[in-house]
């Protein structure tokens, strides 16, 4: 039954990806912008033949529909073509270079968001409308409404510039780069036993991680709070109390576990949004990840690169949701039956 559930969801991935590839391809090709113009810059005396030659080299001279067909066919085999803005390098190799940075930062922001959000949500639910709850609500409102780039710059100014506690940009101190294995600097540092590199990489992630985590933490906190309030009013919670269980067990074990079930889906959705947030945050903090790569590629009308990055985002978003559904089924047997 498990196999069938996951297989069915993965088969559903195919039309989603086709749809995404279609939208990305045609929006990119139909928005203003000419990659050849970008490549040549102010190249002075360029003949029309040279331009046509470049167009031919990158296959831009074929009809759009043919280009789209080639793109889908090649992408299905893992070939995303050549990047216009990276000196004709293979898109896959450019993406592989940047993926670990984004993965690491996103994981970090994810953990940070949950570490803040779940305890805050639980505490707030214990005394609705209490001081903590009101404070947390205001915090959540701020977390959701502050634009990421603005929060990023404020954090940078306060903690990087005025206090000089944390680095403003980059991924790691120059002196302590760990040898590359996974490309995740913190993991590489641990693997090579380099404590200084670990702390340095961690320190560099704090400000961008906070800026990325803020909206997710806010959403998850509100979700945990409201489902906790619902659960705490249930009969079985009253029963547990009546049984004489300590309040900590009642809240932590009986209530929280059940309250987390609806939270799982929100967490998955919000993690998808984390991915989109990292385009902005990586640009502000000059964090050399996929998000910044995508922003640069859009500016340079680098169609193949944008298509590849957007597809990666789409796949991870869908997989996150499949994962959340699977987890939901694990946590809540009723879902499996349905």
């Amino acid at each position: 039954m498990w196999g069938r559930f996951v297989t069915r969801r993965l088969i559903q991935l195919i039309p989603v990806l086709l749809g995404v590839s279609f939208i990305v391809f045609f929006t990119m090709h139909l928005t203003p912008g000419d990659p050849i113009e970008h490549m040549l810059g102010q190249a002075g005396h360029v003949t029309q033949e040279q331009i046509e030659e470049l167009r031919g080299h990158y296959g831009l001279d074929r009809p759009l529909v043919v280009q789209y067909g080639l793109f889908v066919g090649n992408a299905a085999r893992g070939d995303f073509g050549l990047s216009y803005s990276h000196h004709g390098r293979a898109v896959a190799s450019v993406v592989r270079e940047r993926l670990p940075a984004t993965l690491e930062l996103t994981l970090f922001a994810f953990v940070m968001a949950l570490v803040f959000a779940i305890p805050a949500g639980v505490i707030a639910s214990l005394r609705p409308q209490g001081v903590f709850d009101r404070g947390a609500t205001i915090g959540a409102l701020l977390g959701i409404s502050m634009p990421g780039f603005w929060l990023g710059i404020v954090l940078m100014i306060v903690f990087g510039l005025q206090r000089n506690w944390l680095p403003i940009s980059g991924r790691i101190d120059l002196a302590v780069v760990p040898p590359a294995r996974t490309g995740l600097y913190t993991l590489d540092a641990l693997l090579s036993g380099n404590g200084a590199a670990f702390w340095s990489a961690l320190k560099h992630m704090v400000l961008p991680g906070l800026a990325m985590a803020a909206p997710m933490a806010a959403m998850v906190m509100r979700m945990v709070r409201s489902s906790m309030i619902g659960v705490l009013a249930q009969d079985y919670v009253q029963f547990a109390r009546a049984k004489g269980l300590p309040e900590r067990t009642v809240v932590g074990k009986h209530a929280l576990r059940n309250a987390l079930i609806p939270t799982v889906n929100i967490v998955a959705l919000q993690t998808g949004l984390l991915l989109s947030g990292n385009m902005i945050i990586e640009t502000v903090f000059q964090y050399p990840g996929l998000g910044k790569l995508a922003v640069d590629a859009i500016g340079a009308a680098d169609y193949p690169l944008v298509q590849a990055v957007v597809l990666i985002y789409a796949v991870s978003y869908v997989l996150l949701n499949v994962g959340a559904d699977a987890l939901h089924a694990v946590l809540d047997p009723r879902v499996r039956v349905a």
Binding site: D34, A43, G193
Partner: protein, 554 residues
């Protein structure tokens, strides 16, 4: 009563703890203590691991501490897609690569041309130049620099080597058709027709070692280039940083640019920090020592900081309003002349651009070769503009569209506002840059604000492209047989004085025909830490670090 109960409770609980302790169990206090210890242990895990690692030949790919301490860090305003000197059209790449790879010719801070890897040159006949090369120069690989390397470098750019990708820098070498090795330290460069500015154009090409390139191939060369410059590449993490260290066997560089010898700095670290806010915050926080391209509205603030100053260079890029001479209304010269008098440059330069720009009488910047200083300075004369418009049949004013790209929108609006006094109603329309350029090349726009860079500072880098009848970027549909002829003559004139005269004549002709008006050039602003000694912004945007020094961090 309640007090008593509480005391009893406490006593009970202490007793219970004691009993549990005696039985070998954990008390809560102990549990907390142990938990804390475990947490410290986990937190200290990396540290502990690193001690462990040190025992078994610890892996380390970080930079040498001396290199980190003694390096100058530069925040760039653009990323670097390649480090291959021959495969880009980016000023940022050039500024980075120039620190690793020297060229035959270089420019000093005053933009004078000096021999670098060449010792001298002479024109043998109009189409053949002989370059004497410096002896005893070594590349970073230790291999000696020789004539074969120059031949290889230039042949690769002009496309004379089969099987290599076409270089986008070919057009920077104009009519160069071939090279010949005469002996180990002498090279001849052959051009198709006379090319009086060959030595000036060679500052844009850096010499690559043939043997190394052939060993590693083009792709690897783009990642790990080798040259004969003052710094050699240590590592390049794309999007993150480019680290260069001092090349100890450096021959010293152009003797005309003292001091000679290896560089002062331990190394240079370039970091792409495209967001201006981040770049400047990094400068303030001491994460970089030089920040390229300070926005004009931030310049005074940066200059006022105790730890930084602003270094200013006159820019080489000219912004201008172009007019389409092929169709109404600007096919009428009187209307074009009216545009010249319609805008008031003073408030735009001083208030709008905060005094960080300079209005120019024509398309050339004053530093350029052959600049005609006799042309009248631009000024507003609304009465004259209205009169010219009336003569041309636009007595009740003129409505036009002023096209520009997004980056120029505000300044275009200022220009449009200024024109109202002369009875010109200009509506600003923003188009994406590539598309605007395409439209302009097809001469589909009437009036537009755009710009053209000319870091060669030679008129041949800008006048033929824009104003020859068949110029690639003749946005104006400007056709003047006389200007075409003068441009050809200037191209062939080997005598500098004759060339200068031709260009002066061309500038006067352009002033007469008015395909462009309202020219201005922006200053180039660099944020520089007070720790940096002997760094000055340069008009050509290069960042030569050979002669720069760094005060130790306090």
């Amino acid at each position: 009563m309640r007090q008593l109960q509480r005391t009893e409770e406490i006593r009970d609980s202490m007793l219970r703890e004691k009993r549990e302790e005696a039985a070998g169990g954990f008390t809560r206090r102990e549990f907390l203590r142990e938990g804390l210890r475990a947490a410290v242990l986990v937190g200290g895990l990396p540290g502990a691991l690193s001690v462990l690692g040190a025992g078994c030949a610890r892996e380390q790919s970080g930079l040498r501490p001396e290199l980190v301490r003694g390096s100058l860090r530069v925040g760039l305003d653009a990323d670097v897609p390649t480090l291959d000197p021959a495969m880009h059209r980016s000023r940022t790449v050039e500024a980075v690569v120039r620190n690793m790879c020297d060229g035959l010719v270089a420019r000093d801070a005053q933009m004078n041309y000096v021999p670098q890897l060449a010792v001298s040159w002479r024109v043998e006949d109009e189409t053949r130049w002989i370059f004497k090369l410096r002896e005893g120069v070594r590349f970073h690989t230790g291999e000696p620099f020789a004539a074969e390397d120059v031949k290889f470098t230039l042949d690769r750019i002009i496309g004379a080597i089969d099987g290599l990708e076409q270089s986008p820098r070919k057009s920077l070498l104009g009519p160069v058709v071939g090279t010949e090795v005469i002996d180990e330290h002498t090279v001849a460069i052959v051009t198709e027709g006379p090319y009086p500015i060959l030595h000036k154009k060679l500052v844009f090409q850096e010499v690559c070692p043939k043997a190394y390139f052939e060993r590693v191939g083009a792709e690897e060369f783009g990642r790990r280039p080798v040259g004969a410059g003052p710094f050699r590449l240590v590592e390049w993490r794309p999007g993150e940083r480019i680290v260069l260290e001092r090349f100890e066997d450096y021959y010293g560089g152009a003797p005309e640019i003292p001091p000679a010898g290896p560089a002062e700095l331990e190394g240079v670290i370039f970091r792409p920090l495209e967001e201006a806010a981040t770049r400047l915050a990094s400068l303030e926080a001491g994460e970089v020592e030089v920040a390229v391209s300070v926005p004009p509205d931030q310049a005074d603030r940066i200059d006022g900081l105790p730890e930084a100053r602003v270094s200013v260079a006159q820019g080489t890029k000219t912004h201008f309003v172009g007019l389409n001479c092929t169709r109404k209304p600007f096919s009428d010269r009187r209307v074009r002349e009216a545009m010249r008098y319609a805008v008031d440059p003073k408030p735009i330069m001083e208030q709008f651009l905060l005094g960080r720009a300079r209005a120019l009488p024509g398309i050339l910047v004053p530093m350029a070769f052959g600049y005609d200083s006799s042309l009248p300075a631009p000024r507003q004369d609304t009465a004259r503009a209205r009169e010219l418009l009336r003569e041309a049949g636009h007595g009740d004013g003129l409505s036009v569209t002023l096209d520009c790209e997004a980056a120029d929108k505000r300044i275009a609006e200022a220009i449009a506002g200024s024109m109202q006094a002369a009875g010109v109603r200009a509506e600003v329309r923003v188009t994406k840059k590539d598309n605007l350029l395409n439209q302009l090349r097809r001469q589909e726009r009437d009036m537009f604000l755009t710009s053209w860079g000319n870091s060669s500072l030679d008129p041949s880098g800008i006048l033929p492209v824009l104003f020859r009848s068949d110029g690639y970027s003749n946005f104006f549909g400007y056709r003047s047989p006389r200007v075409d002829r003068l441009l050809d003559e200037a191209d062939r004139a080997m005598e500098p004085e004759v060339r200068r005269q031709k260009y002066v004549e061309i500038q006067r002709a352009l002033h007469e025909d008015i395909p462009t008006c309202f020219h201005f050039a922006l200053e180039e602003l660099y944020g520089v830490s007070t720790r940096v000694l002997d760094f000055e912004a340069r008009p050509d945007g290069m960042l030569p670090m050979h002669d720069v020094a760094l005060r130790a961090q306090v």
